[in-house]
Amino acid sequence: MLATGIALVVWSGWQNLRQRRSAMQAQQQGRVDLIPGQPSAAASDSSTGQFQLRGRPAPAFTLLDLNGNKVSLSDFKGRPLVLNFWGTYCAPCKIEMPWLEEFSKKYAPDGLQIVGITYDSEVGRDTIARDTGKLGVTYPILLSDPTAEKDYLSGTDALPMSFYVDKTGKVIEVTAGLGSKDELESMVKETIASGER
């Protein structure tokens, strides 16, 4: 047990050094890598879990909104979507949510639909509504459930996590963590453009 532990520590130290060098290079370029396949710690395990949804149909869901109404993925059929998992305790989520609100309005003529999915729905609708109200969010806010978390998050609890779904219903991108506003808008544009006939 002890020998295994020491071996793991040595190996992990070497691995971590590599990851930190990559992360430092990314920081020097003034960005945080969020996209699978690019060299950052956040993206290092991108071949598994939630990132496997890239290129696949978005999993169906039916969730409750803050008014208790059922909302399904199929309600947005044919529209470019951003499914944004967030939490009331999540500071970076609350940085990007006003950006998403802005894009929701800016790209409404293109059919864009932003949907917030609250990870910590157990805090209650009042708390969630208080937070989204303070943030100026008007796009739909849904309450997550174990099935949606299993299908989309695959066990991770890192927030924010966003899934970009084009008008054909395919997940074209998955991002974990806070990126820049420009990066976010760029992915929104890609989502709108994807699936054009």
């Binding site: 532990g5 020491i6 793991l8 520590v9 992990s12 130290g13 691995q15 971590n16 050094l17 990851q19 930190r20 945080v32 969020l34 710690a41 956040a42 290092s44 395990d45 598994t48 879990g49 939490g87 009331t88 305790y89 999540c90 500071a91 970076p92 989520c93 609350k94 940085i95 990870y119 910590d120 937070d131 303070k134 066990g155 991770t156 609890d157 890192a158 927030l159 924010p160 974990a176 963590g177 806070l178 990126g179 820049s180 506003k181």
Partner: protein, 172 residues
């Protein structure tokens, strides 16, 4: 991802501390975190540096409770700059022969996430010490307590967690 985050702890920590972290984590959650059946929240972001302390009996004394935050992460301070965030807080269970006064939390340090430098949060990073004033009868004492905190790294945040601890000290 969970395994990678455990790895992140290894460089900035001394080997002994990292090994202690590894052993503590695996002891608490078993080896399942490395397998397919890993629990959703298999790790702690804050460790308690338990140490035996000795204070004078029947007189006011202050216990120092030291906590270590896993490198690469921070947690909200006891007074985060937003009502929407979860403050770090320690709750104490009653302990026979021990009277406690309100806990004294350290000041946090300013922190901003990338892409939003104007928004200054108040956080603990690295290590922090909570001070607990006590008056205790002579003898060995143990106070059960629970630290509640919420951790983030430089891009993501993680659900609130609780860390049960046992504060052991001797009054004589």
């Amino acid at each position: 991802m969970k395994m990678l985050r455990l790895i992140i702890a290894s460089r900035a920590f001394p080997l002994s501390a990292t090994l202690a972290l590894f052993l503590a984590t695996t002891a608490q959650f078993g080896n399942a975190q490395f397998g397919m059946d890993a629990p959703a929240n298999p790790r702690a972001y804050v460790l308690y540096a338990a140490e035996q302390q000795t204070v004078p009996a029947a007189r006011r004394a202050v216990l120092e409770l030291r906590f270590q935050i896993v490198p690469g992460f921070h947690i909200n301070s006891h007074t985060p700059n937003s009502q929407l965030l979860i403050p770090t807080a320690l709750t104490l269970e009653p302990s026979p022969g021990v009277k406690t006064a309100p806990l004294q939390y350290p000041a946090g340090e300013p922190y901003s996430f990338p892409f939003d430098p104007a928004d200054k949060l108040d956080v603990y990073a690295g290590s922090f010490t909570v001070r607990l004033p006590v008056v205790a009868t002579a003898g060995d004492h143990a106070i059960d307590a629970t630290l509640r905190y919420q951790a983030c790294d430089n891009a993501s945040c993680y659900p609130p967690k609780t860390l049960p601890i046992k504060i052991v000290f001797t009054a004589k």
